[in-house]
């Protein structure tokens, strides 16, 4: 059964569930104890630059700004060294949200798109709190909405999320390629989708983004019915995107379906891992904050292994 997403009185603050944010706040305090410097936040900048936190020295090369020569070291060693610092510039944090028709499916209290919107809103807000520049791209078989990363775009993002609707056919390759063109600066990209494509095509679609040096985090949102296939009666099954119908008698087919879905998920997981992409499967029947917690743990692990 498809749970239609409702519009109306919902606002951006709907996504900022105090209970959810309470859990995230605790994780934030945990992260502060691990990371040096509160203002730099949890997200480590992919750039090394001149910041207040010393990183290392390197020999002066012609072309370097002479203002960065460590004169005290020159006085002791009579050599020119450049002083390098951890960059203190904020990261770009962009949510890539799949709004194809298959995301409107839901047999639980939430449709997959609702669940994805909540997740995107929470992550954006959290990143904004980290003083990251937050952006949003919604897409199906093309880009639907684009909000460039900015520290001032949180409200716009929440508004766009609030109005996001699913209804058209979806694909990954074309829109992600367009996004690659849009996002010039490296950043953290959170891709939220149900990944109803072959794993090879998914990796192929993500390839250009990854090649531009973006840190990718992939969330696959699935409804319990997609995972368990709890149907009993013979019925006609209609594809939400192509509207194609096929008659299906659940029975032995159920086991085949579950086996194929499990293979698909396992393949995705393997492929994402081999491409150093964080991948998390989210069940819409599970609490959202649990998903965020898993995300933060994954990010922390990613920072340590850098």
């Amino acid at each position: 059964m498809v749970t239609a997403r409702t519009r109306g009185s919902t606002t951006g603050t709907q996504f900022l569930d105090p209970a959810v944010l309470g859990r995230i706040g605790n994780l934030q305090l945990l992260a502060k104890t691990v990371v040096d410097g509160f203002l730099t936040g949890l997200h480590r900048s992919p750039y090394l630059g001149f910041s207040i936190d010393f990183a290392e020295h390197r020999p002066y090369m012609p072309g370097d700004d002479i203002r960065r020569i460590d004169w005290r070291l020159w006085a002791r060693t009579d050599r020119h060294y450049i002083k390098l610092f951890e960059a203190d510039t904020n990261a770009n944090f962009v949510v890539l949200l799949d709004v194809s028709a298959s995301m409107s499916y839901g047999t639980h209290s939430l449709a997959k798109l609702d669940y994805a919107r909540y997740l995107a809103a929470c992550l954006s807000f959290f990143s904004s709190e980290q003083r990251d520049r937050v952006g949003l791209v919604t897409f199906d078989h093309e880009i639907v909405e684009y909000v460039p990363p900015s520290m001032k775009h949180l409200d716009t993002i929440l508004h766009i999320l609030d109005g996001a609707e699913a209804g058209r056919r979806g694909s990954l390759k074309e829109p992600l390629l367009q996004i690659t063109e849009l996002l010039g600066r490296k950043g953290i990209l959170v891709l939220i989708s149900d990944f109803y494509e072959e794993p090879d095509r998914v990796i192929e679609a993500i390839g250009p983004l990854k090649a531009r040096g973006h840190d990718m985090i992939a969330f696959q949102v699935m409804d319990p019915a997609e995972l368990e296939f709890p149907f009993e009666q013979a019925s006609g099954f209609e594809d939400l995107e192509s509207h194609e119908q096929i008659p299906v008698v659940p029975g032995k087919l159920k086991e085949d379906y579950k086996r194929m879905v499990a293979d698909h998920l396992e393949t995705l997981k393997t492929r994402f891992a081999s491409n150093r992409i964080d991948y998390t499967l989210l069940d819409t029947s599970k609490p959202l904050d649990l998903a965020l917690f898993q995300y933060l743990l994954a990010r922390e692990a990613m920072r340590r292994t850098r």
Partner: protein, 709 residues
């Protein structure tokens, strides 16, 4: 023979066969549609789709169609129409009621045998769908076989019919026939009345009206009256006490009906089964005469007697049976005041002494008290103008409770102790004079009461001549019975019951001092009735008539029947009894509460005794035939038919034929009951269809991705 349907409209239900097919073909349109995010996995699974419009399970479909067809056939109520079972001459199945007269007048010549032959012929002529009932009747009617087509049973029932001793009454039998026809579902009814059609058996319109369309066929069996009939109509049994022993002088009244010349006949008297005397008399045609026999000594209870006259065509009325027992004298104690100066009980004592059979044994006591010894062997106590003490009153209370009788004649000195005032039916007041004019008279008598019942008829006793100059005032208590009042409304005689006994209060005197009643002719029977009533003595009946019923649990009825208590202990107490009928059969009357009726249906002597005993002289009842049956004057059967059948209607016949045809078909269908078997077969097919379809469904569910049709 051909297959027909009672309700062919239901055959339209066969069209229901197409229902499973339509359901099958249209079910596709109502298939559920499940929206699913992507079919990328489902499409990879090999599946098989089969077009629903192609019928897969012909066997299953055949089962369903056949079951529906059987269901429709069952509701159409098929039957094999047997055209040989025609409507017959009367237009359809008949409800035949045969009424056979078994009164004793049917015994003349061969009337009864001929009636049985006719009844048998009627039963033989019944059609296969006809039903018949057999009713034997005399005074009452008994249904021996009711509305059956079993001829064997009808013939067997007919063989049990015997001539009885009852009189003919057409009313009850025709009522039974009317009821049978009204309750019948068959289209036509016929009533056959086999009788000698005595005029006495029909008193006019008795509310009998056969249903419309019924046919009444009177079948007279008798001849045109009897040529000659002798009968004993009555036997008088006056008694006398001679030398302390009772002597009975029977006299019989003999009647001769018909005949052509003077004839000598012999009348015999049998006592206890032995001929005692015989008289030869000469009787002219249509005459009656009295035959007096020599007296015989009555020494033993339940002496059976029969007066019999020579044989003739109707022999049942030629004998008159009776039972007599020696009567026990009633012991009467008269208590006078000790200080009385005159013989107050003279008239009373003399009146009680004057009896032909010595019914009263009178003793007088002059005292103001009653001793216990006085009440022994005493039936009635008369307190004649005496004031008794309280102790005596208490003794009388016990005496009353045990069944004794007390008469309180108040007069001038009479009184009653206040301690036992509740025994009296009221309160005694002062003396009231009626000296003005010619004195008071009795203005009201309760003729329904046993005391005055014998005076109810004309010239049976005149109380109006008696004058009363003085009487005691008496205020009746609530519930007291006032049996006589003076012309001014004051009470002359009142009664109260205590236990089994009775107490009467006479507010005047029983001598000639206050009233001249003692000088009137009515005084003697009045005093006798008072004593007999107080003593509880009822007149024993020497015989009963066939059709009467005696309640052997009712002491009064037994007394009327002549029961002598000392030799029939246990009869009224409710012990087991067995009655032996004149024909020798027994009627068991087990012990128990409530009435125990003995129906008297045969002429002769019934004896009643405890089972297993052979008393020398058992309690016996004489039963005689109803003499009305001796009058064989004929009733016109046509007149009877006109009174009990509905006027012929013009449209009734056609309606009956149409109704008969319809009912005949219904009857055939009901007898064959094919619809039941069709329903059972349809049910079996439905069960099989369910089992087969479930099995197919399970098989189909086991196949991957298969959509079955």
């Amino acid at each position: 023979m051909s297959l027909a349907f009672l309700v062919p409209l239901f055959l339209l239900g066969v069209a229901g066969i197409v229902v499973p097919i339509i359901v099958h073909l249209t079910r596709r349109q109502r298939r559920n549609v499940v929206h699913f995010p992507s079919l990328m996995f489902l499409e990879k699974i090999p599946y098989q789709e089969q077009r629903r419009r192609r019928i897969q399970h012909w066997f299953l479909l055949s089962l369903r169609a056949l079951a529906l067809a059987l269901l429709a056939l069952a509701f159409a109520r098929p039957f094999v129409e047997d055209t040989e079972l025609g409507l017959g001459a009367t237009g359809g199945p008949r409800e035949v009621v045969v009424l056979v007269d078994q009164s004793y007048s049917m015994g003349v010549e061969d009337q009864f045998e001929r009636s049985r032959s006719e009844a048998r012929a009627i039963f033989d002529g019944l059609g296969p769908l006809d039903r018949a009932s057999l009713v034997a009747f005399a005074q009452g009617a008994r249904v021996l076989a009711r509305s059956t087509s079993d001829r064997t049973r009808l013939r067997a029932a007919l063989d049990t019919v015997q001539i009885g001793g009852g009189a003919t009454r057409f009313g009850p039998a025709l009522k039974v026939a009317q009821t049978i026809l009204e309750e019948s579902t068959l289209p036509s009814g016929e009533v056959y009345l086999l009788s000698d059609f005595q005029r006495n058996g029909w008193i006019g319109d008795e509310g009998v009206r056969l249903p419309p369309g019924s046919e009444f066929t009177p079948m007279p069996m008798g001849h045109e009256g009897l040529e000659e009939n002798f009968l004993v109509t009555d036997v008088a049994l006056p008694r006398q006490v001679v030398a302390g022993r009772e002597r009975v002088t029977p006299s019989a009244r003999v009647v001769r009906r018909g005949g052509t010349a003077t004839r000598e006949v012999t009348v015999t008297l049998e006592i206890d089964g032995q001929e005692l005397q015989s008289r030869s008399i000469s009787m002219v045609p249509d005459a009656a005469t009295a035959v007096a026999f020599q007296p015989f000594t009555l020494s033993r209870p339940y002496t059976r007697g029969t007066v019999r006259i020579g044989d003739d065509a109707l022999s049942a009325d030629n004998a008159r049976h009776f039972v007599v027992s020696p009567g026990a004298a009633l012991s009467v104690l008269i208590v006078e005041g000790a200080g009385s100066s005159r013989d107050e009980s003279l008239y009373l004592r003399r009146a009680l002494d004057i009896t032909a059979d010595g019914r009263f044994r009178v003793s007088v006591r002059r005292a103001n008290s009653v001793r216990p010894v006085d009440l022994e062997e005493t039936d009635v106590v008369i307190l004649n103008d005496v004031q008794i003490d309280g102790a005596s009153a208490e003794r009388l209370r016990a005496f009353l409770e045990a069944g004794g009788g007390v008469l309180v004649a108040l007069a001038e000195d009479g009184g009653w102790p206040a301690s036992a005032a509740d025994l009296l039916p009221g309160t005694i007041g002062p003396v009231q004079d009626r000296l003005q004019g010619r004195g008071g008279r009795l203005g009201y008598l309760e003729y329904g009461h046993a005391v005055f019942e014998v005076f109810a008829g004309p010239r049976s006793g005149d109380f109006t001549g008696a004058r009363f100059f003085r009487a005691r005032a008496f205020e009746p208590a609530e519930g007291a019975s006032v049996l006589a009042r003076f012309d001014d409304g004051t009470i002359a005689l009142a009664e109260a019951r205590h236990g089994l006994g009775r107490l009467l209060v006479w507010t005047s005197s029983l001598d000639s001092y206050w009233t001249d009643l003692a000088l009137q002719p009515v005084y003697l029977p009045f005093v006798h009735r008072l004593a007999e009533h107080l003593g509880g003595r009822a007149e024993a009946r020497p015989w009963f008539t066939i059709g009467q019923v005696v309640d052997l649990a009712n002491p009064e009825a037994l007394e009327t029947a002549g029961l002598v208590a000392t030799v029939a202990d246990g009869l009224s107490e409710g012990f087991d009894q067995v009655a032996l009928t004149p024909s020798g059969s027994t009627i068991q009357m087990p012990a128990g509460e409530g009435p125990r009726y003995l129906p008297l249906e045969e002429s002769g002597f019934y004896t009643v005794r405890p089972p297993g005993t052979e008393p020398e002289r058992p309690f016996a009842l004489a039963v005689n035939v109803d003499l009305e049956e001796s009058n064989v004057a004929r009733l016109d059967p046509t007149q009877l038919a006109l009174q009990i059948t509905a006027p012929p209607g013009s449209d009734q016949g056609a309606l009956n034929v149409e109704l008969a045809a319809s009912l005949q078909r219904e009857d055939q269908e009901r007898r064959q009951g094919l619809w039941r078997w069709l329903l059972i077969a349809a049910l079996g097919l439905f069960v099989a269809e369910t089992a087969v379809s479930n099995w197919i469904s399970r098989q189909a569910a086991g196949a991957p991705g298969v959509v079955t049709g």
